[in-house]
């Protein structure tokens, strides 16, 4: 598996669309990987790789004939874990209102200073005015240079945390929560007949020869939490994760094409709706996931070298 990230400061690099929204910016990606890159698979998250949202809405239980109450309970437990992780370790409280598409998006406002002893809880980012809102005097003007710098620090720290714990998210949780996570995940796997494990087979196969990119409609911070908690941290490097909440999938795809170029063949994998339309707009082939069997077929197609 190719490592696409390194923890040393990369804030000088191209993904700084706070100035120029990625469109005109020439992407820089390590040349060694890109020369051989033939395919990039653009994955949707919910109901494609992981089963989460449909646990809560009841649609999974209904579609696959599972006990609604059990399923809902699993969903709720997972949801609690996700948001607790997001709030406690991933600055979700601070960042919820100033969501980004990609973790590098505010890097250009960073000054690269050492953050090892930096105190995020008392730097005045989120004062009484609330994330530097209009009425706040303690935090300064939202969008002001100092505030943007503090924002950039958070995303940098976010990135570092992701990289450090992507193989071991349990270390971020209390022992009790760790146990809970293991149990809930096992139960979800059971009730979904191994959905996630099936998806991971394809993800790993792809990782070995080309590249996986995640494009989700979840906000970036909770998306990172989901990825970590569902054990997908080593399949998706943090720089391969995009949140389409603000700009939509079609624009996200456009950004990704700008980044990796048109010589690559893109394949979109999702459960329909937005990603299917976005794929069509970009003339990208679309692989639909409606049931676990579609993930099995996908894996087969990959193994047989059809994709």
């Amino acid at each position: 598996a190719q490592e696409h990230e390194d923890p040393t400061p990369r804030h000088a690099q191209s993904h700084a669309p706070s100035k120029a929204k990625g469109k005109g910016k020439k992407p820089d990606s390590s040349p060694s990987t890109d020369n051989d890159l033939e395919r990039i698979f653009l994955w949707d998250l919910d109901e494609t790789i992981i089963v989460f949202h449909s646990l809560l809405t009841g649609s999974f239980a209904q579609k696959f004939g599972k006990d609604p109450a059990t399923v809902l309970n699993l969903g709720l437990q997972m949801e609690e874990l996700i948001f607790e992780l997001a709030d406690t370790h991933l600055f979700f409280n601070d960042l919820e209102e100033c969501d980004q598409v990609h973790v590098e998006d505010v890097a250009s406002d960073d000054n690269g200073q050492d953050l090892s002893n930096y105190n995020f809880s008392s730097d005045g980012f989120s004062g009484t005015g609330g994330a530097g809102g209009p009425g706040s005097t303690t935090t300064g003007v939202q969008g002001g240079v100092e505030w943007m710098r503090k924002l950039a620090f958070r995303y940098r720290r976010l990135r570092e945390i992701y990289i450090s714990y992507k193989m071991n998210v349990g270390a971020l949780l209390s022992p009790l929560k760790r146990e809970l996570l293991i149990r809930v995940r096992a139960e979800i796997e059971a009730v979904t007949d191994g959905w996630l494990s099936t998806a991971i087979k394809s993800l790993r196969l792809i990782q070995g020869r080309c590249m996986n990119v995640l494009v989700t409609t979840t906000q970036l911070v909770p998306a990172l939490a989901k990825v970590l908690l569902y054990g997908l941290g080593d399949v998706f490097p943090v720089d391969s994760i995009y949140s389409a909440t603000k700009i939509g999938k079609e624009s996200c795809f456009e950004r990704i094409v700008s980044r990796f170029g048109k010589k690559v063949t893109y394949v979109v994998i999702g459960d329909g709706r937005e990603e299917e339309f976005a794929a069509k707009q970009h003339n990208m082939p679309f692989w639909r996931i409606s049931a676990r069997g579609d993930l099995v077929s996908l894996h087969q197609a990959l193994e047989l070298d059809f994709l």
Binding site: E38, R39, P285, W287, D294, V296, S297, A301, F306
Partner: protein, 284 residues
Amino acid sequence: MSIMPSFGFTQEQVACVCEVLQQGGNLERLGRFLWSLPACDHLHKNESVLKAKAVVAFHRGNFRELYKILESHQFSPHNHPKLQQLWLKAHYIEAEKLRGRPLGAVGKYRVRRKFPLPRTIWDGEETSYCFKEKSRSVLRDWYTHNPYPSPREKRELAEATGLTTTQVSNWFKNRRQRDRAAEAKERENGENNNGVGNKHNQLSPLDGGKSLVSSSEDEVSPSQSPDHCSMMLFQGNVNLSGAAAYPLPGLGAQQSVHSMQGHPHQLQDSILGPLTSSLVDLGS
């Protein structure tokens, strides 16, 4: 969407594979994939599959097969460009083989004439170098009222004609330029003719045109109100002055007709001069 028991892929998935391998240029793999497909009619009539077969046939130089595929199935418009390219390239290659040397533009033209695109991959639209007549008449009409549409008016025109605002802007710009050039040329002719004293020169090649306006000649006099002038000027749906920013053509005509001095004959000729040259121009 049929699922073959032994063959694990749905039609949609098969189509997806075809697209991926085509886009990736992996035609060998695509060929192998197609060969492995079960002999299910449904599958083999799928457009993505047919397109893939066509591409593979071309790649292998199997042109008979290619033509057969292209001719025997109706393809949707968005695939037409690619398939037309295949058809043409294959025919060019075959012609070149016969000829023994590469084809030039004329050679290719002859090939296209000899092997016209089948309607399965072509909607019959000839390559047109002009805007549709309907659009052109809308623009022309507008031009006579105002040769300088505002940005908003351009947008409205674009909508009305089915063109882009850029195309509309360019049309007006070119039209004004050509009118200015035509008018300058007329001025030149007018001056030359006046100098010689022969006022009929410019009318003689245009007898038809002359008779068209001759009936109203009597009405043309300096004492005439501008309205009559404008009526006469508009008979042939002709407009005079590219330089005029004023909607009233009567005034405009007077502007462009610089030699007018109130003398009836002069007025006649001056007005008729540009008019007749514009009459010739009616095809614009």
